[in-house]
Symmetry: C2
Subunit: 361 residues, 2 copies
Amino acid sequence: MEIKKQSSYFRKNVDKMTGYIPGEQPQDGLYIKLNTNENPYAPSPKVIAALKGEIDERLRLYPDPVSTSTRKKVAEVFGTKPERVMVGNGSDDLLTIIIRSFVSKDDKVVYPYPTYLLYKTLAEIQNAKECIIDFCEDYSLPDEILVKGAAVTFICNPNSPSGTMIPVEKISEIAGKIDGIIVVDEAYADFADDNCLRLVDKHPNLIVLRTLSKSYSLAGMRLGFAVAQKELINGMMKVKDSYNVDRLSAASAVAALDDQETFRQNVSRITKTRERLTSSLTELGFFVYPSQTNFVMIKCKDSYETGEIYRKLKERKILVRYIGQPRLDDCLRITIGTDKEIDTLLKELADIQLVLLNQNS
Amino acid sequence: MEIKKQSSYFRKNVDKMTGYIPGEQPQDGLYIKLNTNENPYAPSPKVIAALKGEIDERLRLYPDPVSTSTRKKVAEVFGTKPERVMVGNGSDDLLTIIIRSFVSKDDKVVYPYPTYLLYKTLAEIQNAKECIIDFCEDYSLPDEILVKGAAVTFICNPNSPSGTMIPVEKISEIAGKIDGIIVVDEAYADFADDNCLRLVDKHPNLIVLRTLSKSYSLAGMRLGFAVAQKELINGMMKVKDSYNVDRLSAASAVAALDDQETFRQNVSRITKTRERLTSSLTELGFFVYPSQTNFVMIKCKDSYETGEIYRKLKERKILVRYIGQPRLDDCLRITIGTDKEIDTLLKELADIQLVLLNQNS
């Protein structure tokens, strides 16, 4: 028999893709991490207590395959019904379930550019036809986002990496006009002035995604949820792995959602720091995109300066996100840290600006 | 614009499938659960201690996207290299990654019948062409398992629900002759006399799957791993969700694997109970398939008796698995519980046999 080359076992579309590369995750704890939009504050003490109460002999048993208690709690907090909620192993799991539910080979997957990179990766894995629509200069959405015959349109709102937000009325208008499913990925919505949850009633093709990674300080637990009309949730349930959410993640979600006070406090601290950081960065001469998230995107003078700032910050043990793709090569995305972390960042940034000035003179 | 019917948003193949239905998971704790192959013994005390040590402020941070410490520990315990290991959110996650990596629409997916039902579900979601090969009467594999042009062949070994095992030499022979990828799903291999891990060196198309759900008593934590040559692992890494394994699952896996003594003790207790249960069931007149797993499959007189036994056991708060599909309608799958649970089962079974005898006379 002919010996096959090993790489040929993979599907062609998988072979040629590079895969999504997450932000740096140094495991040594020595950096001020402002690169992956984690929450700088600890999760609720109720989460810690709930988890400690769950760690016992019951870990030998499978979790509830339909995450009943988590869905009930989500429904209660967000004013919807459990049958309109689906829970995932992070919202990435839900994005994967969505693409496998609604997108066949060569179907059109639409998303604006630049945005969360995973939509591209998922479309590539599914061998879909990507329709990538450039955001307008001010990160509003052009009418081209309405693509005829689109199977799924992804809109990260507020958007990453820009931090900007499309008004809810505009999303509703798009949902009403669009072919296929519209996914509004609201990973950052808790830091915004508005959100699209109220649109679910009106639009049978709308799926709103949320995560506990950012606003509830639980990135380490992987818990996301989708809100959509029952018919969509029921179909997507067939596609998810049976036990996609483990016992401890489910318990942490219930406890986190139960403590709205800690949540509100942390979100309020972060948005306050965001406003201060925005002012200070503007004073330092950067253009700061108006942010509705727990990060800001800044525009530097040019791509050279951007790379230099990224590297020099890293030397000084501060990680920010340098995406370095077209249209973003002069931009940096900076997560909102604690006030102390942001003070350090601002001090080092000012110092790096001086160093760069001296280099050039 | 024409209003689309909601169900039509789904892919046709997804719309028409029923989805995998996991075994009953009553959340009330009132049953003797012998239906989903959970381990009756608690996980290692080291797991409990490790988890308690992990529950703190760090939950706000993303987990290591490539699960470095878990892969190292797997490599150490199983005598392989970390680059040959991939970790998943249960081995179901790995099965999903495999089908998305290697199977395009209309590609052939091969598996014997009857076996783990998820292979069918995954093939349906991927819109693959299923080639279902009947096991021989004695649950050996016929030569028809070698399907020309197969993209992926799944072999659950030891097999569920039969409990039977294909010899490792036979698997090696198949791996050498087969087209495409062969997945040996060794969820139950820790309860068997042999396993296929040593074949990974020899076969560039082989992926061996393991889980900590059964032998390490961690079904609630969702931790599985794949062992394969580096080229396969590297490609599959592109397809997995970036943060598919959460912080606590990763920590529980390292601690569980680190405590080989508890593991061996529990496995040995279970296999001892399995032998006793096998003898007793045989004495009660059932045919018991030779098991290399933590469950046994028995053959009853007919499908009527099988359904009656299942129902009457459930009334008596004992759950066993009644699959009720072709060729299995006179079979029950019974998980090995504690000795006390198995004593209760045997007592109730004997009693139910008397009841059924009186009904018929």
